[in-house]
């Protein structure tokens, strides 16, 4: 954690000021009185509670009986895995899960690879079309689902990609890749050009430099973009709802059938929500320490 290092010089300062100012010892930066500490931790605890509570609430309800959401106070007395058993054995959940895993994994791999090569080219090479491309990356973020979804639907029909994994993966790539390329471009900008030059001198092709030298160095940036691509595909609803049918239904769409407007099977909804959130949380835990570095580099240089 490079962040704590930054407090280093500040933490060392109080001794200096203490010698220069006799009498009341002023507090250095990065040092807090007990009251400030309490305030800080209270504020953070409150914020953390708000941020975590909805998720914990779902976990809590999911372990109760299927009608637990109507009497939350009863849950603690009737803990059980009934909802999970029902969801896993008697619904389409396992199939939806499989679909979502395939689509999300493919989107992540494909999206990151494509975005990385484009980001590298935009970062290192000056070529005609360089600026329009960056502009396109930004503008693509602005395309509302509503304008694309009908033409995309027709296009998918024409290309025979409707209701296929590949079709949905490609659609998700259009969402994820421009943002990822934009961020990775910023991240590559922070890697010194001398590294590329050294690679070229040693006889690597431009692609070889990219693949064997720059990519390994860009791991934090790649982690963030992978996280972003994965989440894009994992939780997307609008496209999946229109493009995938029957056995190809993904989680976000499938889970909605538990809590439709007619009936609300919150037991199954909560249990499957927990099951869905777990893989996302695992991916998140794997990359979270890179999140800060990766995101900022992209943000500042974008």
């Amino acid at each position: 954690m490079s962040t704590t290092v930054q407090g280093g010089p500040a933490a060392a300062r109080p001794q200096v000021t203490a010698t220069t100012v006799p009498g009341r010892r002023p507090r250095g930066r990065g040092e807090r009185g007990p009251l400030a500490s309490i305030a800080l931790h209270t504020a953070l605890l409150a914020a953390a509670a708000v941020s975590v509570f909805p998720v914990l609430w779902i976990v809590f309800i999911s372990f109760g009986p299927s009608s637990a959401w109507q009497q939350p106070s009863q849950v603690a007395r009737h803990l059980g895995l009934g909802n999970y058993r029902f969801v896993l054995l008697h619904t389409g959940f396992p199939r939806w899960l499989l679909n979502s895993v395939i689509v999300a994994a493919a989107t992540t791999v494909l999206g990151v690879l494509v975005a990385a090569s484009a980001g590298y080219a935009v970062s290192r090479m000056r070529f005609p079309g360089h600026r329009p491309l960056m502009w396109t990356f930004l503008v693509t973020q602005m395309f509302p689902v509503a304008v694309l979804i009908v033409p995309l639907y027709n296009l998918m029909v024409d290309l025979r990609l409707l209701d296929t994994y590949l079709g949905l993966v490609l659609v998700y790539c259009t969402v994820a890749v421009p943002f990822c390329a934009w961020m990775l471009k910023g991240y590559f900008d922070t890697i010194p050009k001398e590294i590329d030059e050294a690679g070229r001198v040693d006889g690597l092709t431009p692609f070889g430099t990219f693949w064997r030298l720059v990519l390994p160095l860009a791991r934090p940036g790649l982690a963030v973009t992978a996280f972003y691509s994965f989440l894009t595909a994992w939780g997307e609803f609008a496209y999946s709802n229109q493009f995938m049918r029957g056995p190809h239904t993904t989680l976000a769409v499938g889970i909605r059938t538990f809590a439709s407007d007619q009936r609300a099977d919150w037991g199954s909804t909560t249990a499957s929500s927990v099951l869905i959130a777990v893989p996302a949380a695992i991916v998140f835990l794997l990359v979270q320490k890179h999140l800060v570095t990766g995101l900022t580099a992209g943000g500042t240089k974008g």
Binding site: Q71, L133, Q288, G299
Partner: protein, 331 residues
Amino acid sequence: MTTATVDPGVRHPAGPRRARLRALLPSLRRSWDRYWYAWAMVAPVVLVIGVLVLYPLGYGAYLSFTNANERNVAQNIGPVHIPASYKLVGLHNYWQVLSGRDGVFYPRLEWTVVWTVACVTVTYAIGLAMAMLLNRPMRFRLFYRLALILPWAVPAFVGVFAWRLMFNSQYGVFNDLVTAVGLPAQDWLGTPLAQKTAVIIVNVWCGVPFMMVAMLGGLQAIPGELYEAAEMDGASPGQRFRHVTLPGLRPVSGTVILLSTVWTFNMFPIIYLLLGNNTTGDTDILVTHAYQLAFGGGASDYAGAATYGIVILLVLVAFSTFYRRRLRTQD
């Protein structure tokens, strides 16, 4: 590349056009030789974006000039193929929308703007505050950070379900809390105003982690010496915040606010999933309204949805152009 066109022109004074043509080829070849690597590396992106974004966009723009709807688009009923029978209607759709004649556009636009401004402002403020709290040495730092980023790690629709469950008027946990204190139970998702407040709360909950992480990175990029220098000059914490922190965050803030505005303006799943069909339409922003036009109940109005889409896109492009220009002039 200009050098390539000059030389041959001198050598062939008789046919300048042919000379230019002959000069163009090597120059094309040369730029190909020079740039093919870069082009090859961006080719996949260009291909994907071109086929799956620009082509549909063009098609959508075309649809917005027609009267396409569910009944007159091409259809396959069993083996029978019915060709499309919609026709061009010029600017009719845009006129309907922009003159306010459809009675929906301006109210939706107003709420979309309110929604975007409210969400982005609140999210930015909270995100910045959290980042500043986190950006100092203390105990349990990792725990707080993980807890605060959690909403980002949870897929949006799961978060939305959690909130829907908590907002539930009969059995939701909010009403349990409220009645426990002795206040009357509220219908949290009942009135349009309550629904609007609810969607903003949920969107802020989902959006803060991204903002916080970005701001945290921005804060860490500000050199510590600046603060020390400001402190030496006797700047109060408030002054340090205003004159060191905020300017230092400018590059990150600029990008993040732009992105977040665009995303919020087009935020589809939160509004759609939180309220389902239990809405009077008052909470619909432009995007969800367009989606309802195309895929909601009743006859699908594809042309209308496309028109809305193009209008949304134009609004956003105008905004971001203006915003980036202002950022640049301020620098």
